[in-house]
């Protein structure tokens, strides 16, 4: 029977002092003996003790301000267990204190600044090796650009098509219904053409690619980093930027404009179906108006935007992949950060384009 009793300032503990019993013993002790004066603890009747039991005994010793010498009559085996599981020799480590708000703000600012500078270095490295890589194909695997173009571009076509169709459909329906009230149905072609070619096409495609291919780039490079593949490349005298990032850079630069063009075509197709089917716009009127409203400048801006978005996505993905730390958990964090940052950067760049080229 596990119990505690007090006699002549000596606390007697008996029975099994193990993890499953100490909770009840503690309650009994707190109820009856917490405020008593105790000079010794007698453990003669203790039959078994484990690590948790030793912690319990030591807690009692501390509460009564006793020392280990005040523990008496333990059998050899019990005393040996107490010696093994004792916390007396623990070198205390202070729990690190949380930084105050100023330190945190300062750290966040400098960390952002450093990240930005590192990102610029990586961007310049990537652009440099991408340009030189056009002429000199050494230092990267044969067929890697095609392979990446398939992964980044071709494989993304179904989802781009689906979302572009839905967006074109919604945009036409919502705007068309408003225009219809003024009898201005025919202007739906102008509105769609401008908004889809200049805004929705590049933006939607970039967001899809940032979520789909940007995250894939970040996780692939991050995994390579934590499994030391990047170090292995360096040890083979290969430049990881040239070997890993440049093929992705070339592939995305090549495929993004095609994907945007594809997205625009699908969205306009959806617009055409709604306009001709529900808004009584003639097919030839829709086609001619939507082409005539566009200037060469619009198409060029869209192309520039698209290329800018694609570079942002690949460089941000590669950056987060390259700076990963901490194993599998780091890979997850890098992927999330890459998606969030690249979508943010794409939208910011889009706003800048809109402001500069109204």
């Amino acid at each position: 029977m596990n119990k505690i009793s007090l006699k002549d300032q000596t606390l007697y503990i008996s029975g099994k002092i193990v993890i499953v019993t100490i909770s009840d013993l503690l309650k009994e002790w707190e109820r009856n003996y917490l405020k008593e004066t105790v000079a010794k603890i007698d453990i003669k009747e203790v039959e078994a003790i484990d690590g948790a039991g030793v912690s319990f005994i030591e807690t009692l010793i501390d509460k009564y301000s006793l020392t280990a010498n005040d523990l008496q009559n333990g059998t050899e085996s019990i005393m040996r267990s107490i010696e093994i599981f004792s916390s007396a020799k623990i070198q205390t480590t202070e729990k690190p204190k949380a930084d105050n708000i100023f330190v945190k703000t300062g750290e966040a600012f400098f960390s952002f600044l450093n990240q930005f500078i590192d990102g610029l270095y990586l961007a310049s490295d990537t652009i440099w090796w991408s340009i030189t890589g056009l002429l000199n194909k050494k230092g990267r695997r044969k067929g890697s650009v095609i392979e990446q173009a398939i992964v980044i571009g071709l494989d993304a076509m179904p989802i781009v098509a689906l979302l572009s169709f839905v967006i074109g459909f919604i945009l036409t329906l919502q705007s068309g219904m408003q225009l219809q009230k003024f009898g201005a149905n025919v202007y739906i072609a102008d509105l769609l053409s401008i908004s889809i070619v200049r805004e929705m096409g590049p933006l939607i495609t970039a967001i899809i690619i940032a979520g789909r291919s940007g995250s894939a780039i970040a996780s692939e490079i991050a995994t390579m980093k934590v499994t030391e593949e990047i170090d292995a490349l360096k040890m083979m005298a290969l430049n990881p930027v040239k070997y890993v990032i440049v093929p992705k850079f070339h592939a995305i630069t090549l495929t993004m404009p095609l994907l945007v063009a594809f997205s625009i075509l699908i969205s306009m197709g959806a617009g055409l179906i709604i306009s001709v089917g529900f808004l009584d716009v003639a097919l030839e009127v829709f086609v001619s108006r939507s082409i005539n409203i566009l200037a060469v400048k619009d198409v060029l801006i869209t192309l520039a935007k698209t290329i800018c978005f694609s570079w942002l996505i690949v460089i941000i993905g590669a950056y987060y992949g390259m700076k990963v730390t901490g194993g599998a958990e780091g890979v997850g964090k890098a992927t999330t950060s890459s998606v969030v940052t690249s979508i943010f950067a794409v939208i910011l760049a889009d706003a800048a384009f809109s402001l500069i080229y109204l």
Partner: protein, 247 residues
């Protein structure tokens, strides 16, 4: 005195797809003993461990822990068994997002109603046992491979388990740390009458700690018995294993 059986498998068969990984394994493991599961790579050692712990469902056969057939138990009943056991995974399997201290505190906070000061003392004692006093508030990503393993052992020991399973505890450790770990294993066995089931290849470690050997070869049980018996078993694969590794 008759030894108390704590783990028993009867005709255990495990398969990956159509491939038989364990073929009719019948072994007994006893209380207060260190049982070492041995064999060449890919012979099914870890699979045996994971089948015993119901991480994989056996294809056929029976596994008993503490005299209970684990396939008969529902989740709650099996969880009660798990609370009496600890497992040290090959790479530690610590939760990466929290500190070493918090990792060790998980089982104590979730499965006991001990007050905070006792839990705190238990955690620090366990970490002291594995020589990690200085790493209490570090996160696993800040630890070396060996430190991770030791922190994971502290977590496995948190609930004072009756059986502790080790999946290759010495792999990747230096000989001194490995010998310290063996010392700790012997202490746990002697002082707490703990039963330990260890999958390992390290012969030095096996010589220091093993009471009983379970030798697997290509999914079959070749030998089970004590270490001296194993060396004189007359089974070529078993004798070769000890001969090649001796120095």
């Amino acid at each position: 005195m008759k030894k108390e059986i704590i783990i028993k498998t009867t005709n255990l068969v495990a398969k990956y797809g159509d491939k038989i990984v364990l073929d009719g394994i019948s072994v007994e493991m006893y209380k207060g003993e260190v049982t070492v599961i041995l064999g060449t790579s890919g012979c099914g050692k870890t699979t045996l461990l994971k089948n015993i712990l119901r991480m994989y469902q056996p294809y056929s056969g029976k596994v008993e822990i503490f005299g209970k057939d684990v396939s008969d138990l529902d989740e709650d009943q099996f969880n009660e068994i798990l609370k009496r056991t600890g497992m040290l995974f090959q790479n530690g399997a610590l939760l990466n997002s929290i500190t070493v201290y918090d990792n060790v505190s998980i089982p104590l906070e979730q499965h006991t109603d001990l007050p905070r000061d006792i839990i705190d003392r238990i955690i620090k004692t366990k970490l002291h046992l594995v020589n990690l006093d200085h790493a209490v508030y570090l996160t696993p990503s800040e630890l070396s491979g060996g430190m991770k393993k030791r922190a994971a052992l502290a977590r496995a020991l948190a609930l004072e388990p009756e059986i502790v399973f080790f999946d290759e505890p010495s792999a990747g450790l230096d000989p001194i740390t490995s010998a310290d770990l063996d010392k700790l294993i012997i202490n746990l066995k002697n002082q707490l009458n703990m039963s330990l089931v260890i999958v390992t290849h390290e012969l030095a470690s096996i010589h220091r700690i093993a009471d009983r050997i379970v030798f697997l070869h290509k999914g079959k049980l070749l030998f089970t018995g004590t270490l001296p018996e194993a060396k004189k078993s007359g089974i070529p694969q078993v004798e070769e294993f000890f001969e090649i590794g001796s120095f």
